[in-house]
């Protein structure tokens, strides 16, 4: 490979300038001419029949243009199960479910009118615990579940509230446990948390009766998928729908799918062509958008005396909330690798995505990996302790290495796990573990390993245009959600067209002109869209070389390209700028356009009975994180002293950006480990829907962060790259949990590790020891 000039370099972000000056326009900022303001009425009941809705008073309120309820919009949507109405139909299934909406001349009027809508409910039993919701006798939250349209990989469970049952069957776990010297069985719990992107949710929509076109402006991280979902729900041809993406102020998985969009669309059909904006405030964002799956994880592991893993059986209840959203795929892709990145001959996993009467759970950075790791990685440490083995040693004995066949039947390659394990643990001086330095404070170290798949198979397509000034415009449907894709993709185009970064710009995202992309999710963009932009850039370069060949009187193979110029390899002074070539060939307004697309070809589909697949993922991300903590024995407060994070990224296209992703991920993971939880009472009400009561990590709480990039090249990836968006937070809670257990000699099974939980764990141990 020729030497890389832009790829692999710590380039500063291409979008930084507009972000530090306040010029960047986000979805929440967008004002459209002649716009109306929408407000939503949310359900105040977690599970109830709607006996009556009356909207007369709201409709009569001066300044109100439209009031809509479920009766006006008889549509349902859902990524893999069509279970969610645009507005509640006949019943409500969680507190925060949109029931009605108003469009008015200003926001105050809309809010006042919403308060005039009367709804009469008849209560139904409320289920807030996923295990309770699928016990026999529990009533169906979706009576019509069997009738819903579903994608073909859905396997409904035995109980009506089980939306998906994932099964993995390898070997014979009963035999494996019989042959084990030690068998450990424990229950772990991960609570519901929220993405809490700093920009709340909003959407704008406009329906033009004359053209029959529906336009939606929204910071959605998968505009093509959202377009498809709206088209399917409305029975409209896709070409009649257009998505335009303003900038997105963070997402972390919360801004894919449809949340505010259906409300804006519902109103747009009743405003006589005027655009309508629907904004959720922070509280509305907390109760009505998306959450991360709470999970109850039962883990049973059998092991030989020498630490060799024999069998692992896991049963995971994923709390889906009131609608399926992405629960089936979280259940599948989170349950599949939950037993951990280890060679285990006998494996059995049952994952259940269970409806409850809580806010909807969906995709969340990490997509089910943190929940499995919280259980599996702590149990690994517990086993090591009982066998009197070092936690690193037991991992090294069992971890996946190059060429291993995973327990789902896939041969693994580009496995950088061992290097991440070694480097992360060395970075916190693993061998040196003092348990007490200060009086009243216990010290400990711990780590955790993960392997994460990406959504497969998927497609990304891209276009690259070169004009007569030699400026490059990249057309790519990857959404800049803060992760830095615009910088990475610009680097790829600059690298292949041999131009300085300043010559490259990204085209704004508009589904009318931008080629198809599956989604900005699953850490898939650098790999998939990176490949597509690379191919499109090469396609453009080839056309330019071909055009330049007669101009420079040379064969294309004798030409080279550097610094925005095409020249003869042996006579570099014989050169033309890219722009000059385009102008001479196509005239003063000429453009060369290159196109490229990349689809990961999956092998055999996941077998629904065994969970086996020979290609479950385009690539796998590997990581180890290690934590050093101190725990105050009087208060139960945990202080993280330092945290190392070693991630196998394949190839760091931008090391600066890789470190940014790792640091951000780890700190998000620390929040989920130490204090984040959505507190939901027995009536289904969220008790902490504000940043005052839902604690995010602040600048006072972060430890020393040691980011380590490991590059175990993925042959199919662009320049060897894999992905990095999600894994940054996946092993974090388990690593901290292991460090706390090391410090206290107490295993805590439930997240978050908030002071009172730790305090009571210490008190209970004291009581037990005394007895």
């Amino acid at each position: 490979m020729a030497e890389l000039t832009v790829v692999g370099k710590p380039v500063t972000r291409v979008d930084a300038n507009e972000k530090v000056t306040g010029e960047a326009i986000y979805g929440y900022d967008l004002v459209l001419p002649n716009m109306l303001y929408g407000k939503t009425l949310f359900s105040t009941k977690a599970h109830a029949r709607i006996k009556r809705i009356s909207t007369e008073k709201a409709k009569a309120f001066p300044g109100v243009v439209a009031v809509v309820t479920g009766a006006d919009v008889p549509w349902t949507h859902g990524e893999s199960i069509k279970d969610k109405p645009f507005l509640a139909q006949g019943k409500v299934r969680f507190i925060g479910e949109p029931v009605a909406a108003v469009a008015a001349e200003d926001e105050d009027i809309a809010q006042a009118a919403v308060k005039l809508i009367e709804v009469e409910y008849e209560d139904l039993p409320v289920y807030v615990d996923p295990e309770e919701a699928c016990k026999s006798g529990a009533v169906a939250i979706h009576e019509d579940f069997p009738k819903y349209r579903k994608v073909d990989f859905i396997v409904p469970g035995a109980h009506a509230n089980i939306a998906e049952h994932f099964k993995l069957r390898t070997g014979d776990v009963a035999q494996g446990f019989k042959e084990s010297d030690l068998v450990l069985e424990e229950k772990y719990f991960v609570p519901m948390i929220q993405h809490a992107a700093m920009e709340p949710h909003s959407a704008h929509a406009q329906f033009d009766k004359e053209t029959g076109r529906l336009t939606i402006w929204v910071a959605n991280d998968a505009p093509f998928r959202a377009l498809h979902e709206i088209a399917e729900a409305l029975g409209m041809p896709k070409e009649k729908i257009r998505f335009i993406n303003p900038l997105q102020g963070g997402g972390f998985g919360s801004k894919g799918g449809l949340k505010v969009e259906p409300i804006a669309v519902a109103l747009a059909f009743h405003t006589n062509g005027r655009p309508v904006r629907v904004k959720f405030n922070r509280e509305e964002t907390f109760i009505s958008t998306l959450t991360r799956h709470e999970a109850v994880v039962y883990s049973k592991t059998g092991v030989k005396k020498d630490g060799t893993l024999m069998a692992r059986e896991m049963t995971i209840y994923w709390g889906a909330g009131a609608y399926a959203e992405k629960s089936p795929t979280v259940c599948i892709r989170g349950s599949l690798p939950a037993p951990g990145p280890y060679r285990i001959p006998h494996v059995k996993v049952d994952g259940y995505a269970v409806y409850t009467n809580k806010p909807v759970a969906g995709s969340y950075r990490g997509y089910g990996i943190p929940q499995g790791a919280w259980a599996g990685e702590q149990q690994m440490d517990e086993i090591a302790k009982r066998l009197d083995m070092d936690a690193v040693e037991i991992r090294l004995k069992n971890i996946f290495v190059e060429g291993d066949i995973s327990y789902w039947g896939e041969q693994l390659h580009a496995v950088g796990l061992k290097e991440t394990l070694t480097k992360a643990t060395e970075a916190i001086e693993w061998g040196n573990k003092p348990h007490q330095i200060k009086p009243g404070v216990k010290n400990g170290k711990g780590f955790a390993c993960i392997q994460k798949p990406t959504r497969s198979p998927t497609t990304s397509a891209a276009g690259v245009m070169v004009n007569t000034k030699g400026d490059i415009t990249v057309l790519a449907g990857t959404v800049e959600i803060g992760q830095g894709c615009n910088t990475i993709l610009s680097q790829v185009a600059a690298e292949e067209l041999k131009v300085p970064m300043a010559k490259v710009q990204m085209h704004p995202l508009d589904t009318d002109v931008i080629p198809y992309d599956a989604s900005t999710t699953s850490s898939r963009s650098t790999y998939h869209m990176g490949n597509a932009v690379r191919r499109a850039s090469i396609h453009a370069r080839e056309q330019i070389m071909e055009a330049a060949s007669p101009m420079l009187e040379a064969k294309t193979q004798d030409l080279d390209c550097v610094d925005g110029k095409v020249f003869l390899k042996d006579q570099p002074q014989m050169a033309l700028t890219l722009g000059e070539v385009v102008r001479r060939k196509f005239g003063p307004e000429g453009v060369v356009r290159g196109d490229g697309s990349y689809t990961y070809e999956i092998g055999k589909d996941l077998d629904l009975e065994t969970g086996h697949s020979d290609h479950a993922s385009a690539f796998y991300m590997y990581a180890t994180q290690a934590a050093e903590v101190e725990v105050d024995e009087d208060s139960g407060r945990i202080r993280i002293l330092r945290m190392s994070a070693a991630h196998d990224v394949g190839k760091a296209i931008n090391p600066l950006n890789c470190v940014a992703q790792i640091e951000g991920g780890v700190v998000m993971g620390i929040g989920s480990a130490l204090h984040e939880e959505m507190v939901i009472d027995q009536t289904g009400k969220v008790r902490n829907p504000s940043f005052l009561d839902y604690h995010l990590v602040t600048s006072l709480d972060t430890p020393e962060l040691i980011s380590i990039i490991v590059e175990c090249a993925e042959p199919e990836g662009p320049y060897g790259a894999k992905g990095l968006g999600e894994p940054g937070l996946a092993p974090t809670p388990a690593a901290i949990g292991n460090a706390v257990a090391d410090a206290l000699g107490i295993r805590i099974y439930d997240l978050p590790l908030k002071p009172e939980n730790v305090y009571w764990a210490i008190q209970n141990k004291k009581k037990k020891d005394a007895a």
């Binding site: 530090v20 306040g22 004002v31 992107a197 700093m198 803060g482 950006n657 940014a660 602040t698």
Partner: protein, 160 residues
């Protein structure tokens, strides 16, 4: 009830009519069209809407238009000096202090307030000053580094 108010906005004298209960945040974003100031919570918990009021940082979602009479307000749009980025803006660009960028204007205004008062802050000073400004993307490390670098730039400029 509408009330006539006169205040200075990014160095320019501004007169306008607004209901006394209108939030400074909404006034800036909806009435004046300066959307650089961001709304993250509307309850004073996240700091995204931080602006300078008479040189001090405030959450603009907690200031009513009735309090504005005679005040001097500086928003993110007023941070640049001519075409030049302020030292703290430059440092955020260079160090990667912005990811999604939504908390960035508030972070910058809070950092500016800190550096105006103390151009030689310790790391703890910076962490404390920014503790009311939430960021979900960066993990704060690059932001803290950017403020340190901006402080160094300001100090070296003062020496010259």
């Amino acid at each position: 009830m509408n009330q006539k108010i006169q205040f200075t906005l990014n160095g320019k004298s501004t007169t306008m009519e607004a209901p006394t209960h209108r939030l400074l945040l909404d006034l800036l974003r909806d009435e004046i069209g300066l959307t650089g100031t961001k709304e993250g919570c509307g309850t004073g918990d996240c700091g995204a809407c931080t602006v300078l009021m008479n040189g001090k940082p405030v959450n603009s979602c907690l200031v009513l238009s009735g309090e504005l009479e005679g005040a001097s307000i500086v928003t993110i749009e007023g941070l640049k000096i001519g075409p030049e980025l302020d030292a703290v803006q430059n440092a955020f660009v260079r160090d990667g202090g912005a990811q999604c960028g939504y908390c960035t204007p508030g972070m910058l205004m809070m950092s500016k307030a800190l550096l105006d008062e103390n151009s030689n802050p310790t790391e703890d000073d910076i962490r404390f000053a920014l503790s009311g400004n939430l960021c979900r993307c960066t993990g704060y490390a690059k932001i803290i580094q950017a403020v340190q670098d901006a402080a160094a730039m300001i100090r070296s400029k003062n020496v010259q």
